[in-house]
């Protein structure tokens, strides 16, 4: 049964996840053709409602919607009446009156896309809400993972960094677990919650984590904007303890471990320069797959209006 909204990974079944991943495959094949567009959403309208600055996700959704032939409007939040003090509820009522078919929303408040979804007939897609969820990122990560490892069950992924503030960690961890992947966290004690998701291993030491034998090391972005009230002593120390240093990279590349990162990367913090040129670094594939995954999501939903 088609869903109205796409708000998180947690509420999807494994079958639904796999169906979405299958649907993304033909969309990705489209990208190699000279005409990259299909008429699937012709005549439908997609509204991009981004309350938080974003370049990558916003343009990825925009490209995805346009390749499905939808009409795309970007709601310019910094210049809208939202900054004049209009409540979110009133904004939603305004949007509802526009009778748009799909609303792609990013907001700094966790749970806000759900609140919007409950109050509108349009299909709502969560493009990231606070530290709660970033389900299309999760989906594109799963898609990228499955391209490398078609049999996902029993594979191992180590997620490294700021789990606490990361919606990417939450969604990607959840989707991988749904696909039978074992997930472990490594990061500073101040950034890895003591009561995290069930079934996730927790490492405190880089060497031990690597001994576990992950198939993919997934690096989370260090959020530089949090460095006013730091959760660790310095970026230098972070790189030394939790980053992929030159030395660690030798071992990783020797063992053929894959590297993923949601971008944008901080070179010299999460990873050293050499990682970016490594043939098993999947960062660019993630970006490309993001469009296909988002097309699959848009295509799968059924607006209620």
């Amino acid at each position: 049964m088609a869903r109205k909204d796409f708000l998180d990974i947690a509420s999807l079944s494994r079958e639904e996840v796999e169906l979405l991943l299958e649907q993304a495959v033909p969309f990705k094949e489209l990208f190699t053709r000279s005409v990259k567009k299909v008429p699937a959403l012709k005549g439908k309208s997609v509204l991009m409602l981004f309350y938080e600055p974003s370049t990558r996700t916003l343009s990825s959704f925009e490209v995805a919607a346009k390749r499905l032939s939808a009409d795309v409007t970007v709601f310019d939040v910094p210049h809208s009446s939202v900054v004049k003090g209009e409540s979110v509820k009133d904004t939603i009522d305004t949007l509802q009156s526009m009778r748009t078919d799909y609303i792609v929303v990013r907001h700094q408040r966790a749970g806000l896309p759900l609140a919007i979804a409950r109050q509108t007939g349009a299909s709502v897609i969560n493009a990231g809400d606070g530290a709660h969820a970033h389900p299309t990122q999760g989906l594109l990560d799963a898609f990228t993972f499955k391209e490398v490892f078609p049999e996902t069950d029993g594979k191992k992924v180590l997620i490294v960094g700021d789990i606490l503030h990361s919606r990417v960690a939450r969604s990607t961890c959840t989707v991988l677990q749904k696909l039978g992947v074992e997930v472990a966290f490594l990061g500073p004690g101040s950034l890895v919650p003591k009561k995290g998701p069930e079934g996730v291993k927790r490492f405190t030491d880089y060497e031990e984590a690597m001994k576990w034998g992950p198939d993919v090391v997934y690096l989370l972005r260090v959020q530089m904007e949090r460095q006013d009230a730091p959760f660790f002593p310095s970026l230098r120390e972070y790189h030394k303890v939790y980053g992929i240093t030159e030395e660690r990279f030798k071992r990783i590349s020797g063992e053929g471990t894959y590297i993923m990162h949601p971008g944008p990367v901080n070179r010299g913090v999460e990873l050293c320069h050499a990682v970016m040129d490594y043939e098993r670094t999947l960062i660019n594939q993630q970006v490309e797959n993001g469009i296909a995954a988002r097309m699959a999501v848009l295509y799968s939903l059924k607006p209620g209006i």
């Binding site: 979110v88 907001h107 966790a110 749970g111 919650p193 998701p197």
Partner: protein
């Protein structure tokens, strides 16, 4: 008024309800005994299978007046109390302006005298405008009958200010009520730090935030000789902290709210703001520990922290929506349904902790249903039920988890003095 309740059982703080008829005339309980003869001219109320109990008293309510009358007024708040079998309340001073001077206390009490059918008491602020800096007008508030000082909604962040206030106001015969948390640890004050905060992606407020402040405030009270009352305790270790300090002889009392006994962070589900309050709901293990603390007498009172907010305010996202749920319309039925009917505890505990002790705590006489005492009682039907629709609830707001739920138990009558305040 001349009325006899026939065939019911009388609840008291001393033991299980005892079968007895109750005769009330001219605002006084004239007889409590089995097979009382029907006095001349008395109205006979069939109370068989029902409970006659002392009316309740809630020592922690927010009536939002002055300043936020769109959420609640003294008039609607006191009607919500009567609706729930409560005939006395203590208002918290976090109004706009805050209740921090004799002038505001006078305004509030005059308004209450004009609109309320039950006695209304108010606490006063510890510091001016609850800002935690300068002491509020202590003497003037005391002259108008204020005995409880609190900056409820926030702690007094600076321990030196609180210590000075304790040293000063204790000599006026006043006591302190503490909302405990360390603001730097609490973050956006939205929910407990734990499994749920990770899942919902919102920074949680750890139990230790509350426990550290609680311990600090009791230490300050102990050092200065003040009496401190710890409000709305939410965690197991908080409860044990109070137990320990009581064993050390500190002048500390404490209250627990029904929601902290009965609900926990899992109930929040998908950002349900009807489970958002401060201190936040914690875990099932905390529920169990608080219940044990209540039975052991660590908690002197049950108080609801009745905190009305409009539907619009609560419909915002979880972080933005304000903290608090209503309590007066439903606390008695909620506690009956979840605790008494399930054998968790008896009427004696409820009467003691939600009627007798809160009155003693405020320096008032309890209102037992005993011959010769002033009549202030309720008739409660344990076989009846109550559906908490918006229309049923008398509070201006309906931000409660039991909205539209049907629970066991029903308040049928509320009698105070010579007046029947409620009859269904």
């Amino acid at each position: 008024m001349n009325i006899i309740f026939q065939g019911g059982s009388v609840a008291s703080e001393d033991g299980a309800p005892v079968k007895a008829d109750v005769w009330v005339e001219d605002g006084v309980v004239k007889g409590v005994a089995t097979n009382l003869p029907v006095p001349d001219g008395a109205r006979v109320v069939d109370a068989s299978g029902k409970i006659v109990a002392p009316a309740m008293f809630d020592a922690h309510v927010h009536f939002r007046e002055p300043g936020q009358e769109h959420k609640e007024e003294i008039a609607t708040g006191t009607e919500a109390a009567i609706n729930g079998g409560v005939t006395g309340v203590v208002m918290m001073p976090n109004t706009t302006p805050a209740i921090d001077t004799a002038a505001v206390v006078k305004m509030v009490l005059e308004k209450a005298a004009a609109v309320s059918r039950i006695p209304v008491y108010t606490s006063g602020c510890i510091t001016k405008d609850r800002a935690g800096k300068e002491l509020a007008g202590i003497d003037g508030m005391r002259d108008l009958g204020v005995v409880m000082l609190t900056d409820d909604g926030d702690p007094v962040a600076d321990p030196a200010v609180l210590k000075r206030a304790m040293e000063y106001a204790t000599e006026f015969g006043m006591f302190f009520a503490s909302h405990c948390e360390v603001e730097e640890l609490s973050g956006p004050r939205a929910l407990n730090e734990g499994k749920k905060s990770y899942q919902l992606g919102i920074q949680g407020s750890p139990a230790c935030s509350e426990e550290i402040c609680m311990d600090r405030d009791i230490r300050l009270a102990h050092a200065t000789g003040a009496h401190v009352h710890i409000q709305h305790v939410s965690s197991a270790i908080g409860m044990e902290t109070i137990r320990w300090w009581k064993s050390m002889g500190a002048r500390v009392t404490a209250e627990v709210a029904p929601h902290h006994l009965l609900y926990n962070e899992e109930d929040i589900g998908d950002y349900n703001t009807h489970y958002k309050m401060n201190p936040p709901l914690r875990t099932a293990a905390d529920n169990a520990a608080l219940m044990q603390g209540l039975k052991d007498g660590v908690f002197d009172l049950i108080a609801t922290d009745h905190a009305p907010h409009t539907e619009f305010e609560k419909a915002q996202d979880f972080v933005t929506a304000p903290n608090g749920i209503t309590g007066l319309d439903m606390a008695l039925v909620v506690l009956f349904h979840n605790c008494i009917a399930k054998g968790e505890f008896g009427w004696d505990l409820l009467v003691k902790r939600y009627s007798a002790e809160p009155r003693r705590f405020m320096g008032l006489e309890p209102v037992p249903v005993e011959e010769g005492k002033r009549s202030e009682l309720i008739l409660f039907d344990p076989n009846g039920e109550t559906t908490f629709t918006r229309e049923f609830m008398q509070s201006k707001s309906s931000n409660t988890p039991v909205l539209d739920q049907t629970l066991k138990g029903r308040v049928e009558m509320v009698v105070m003095g010579d007046e029947i305040l409620l009859e269904r």
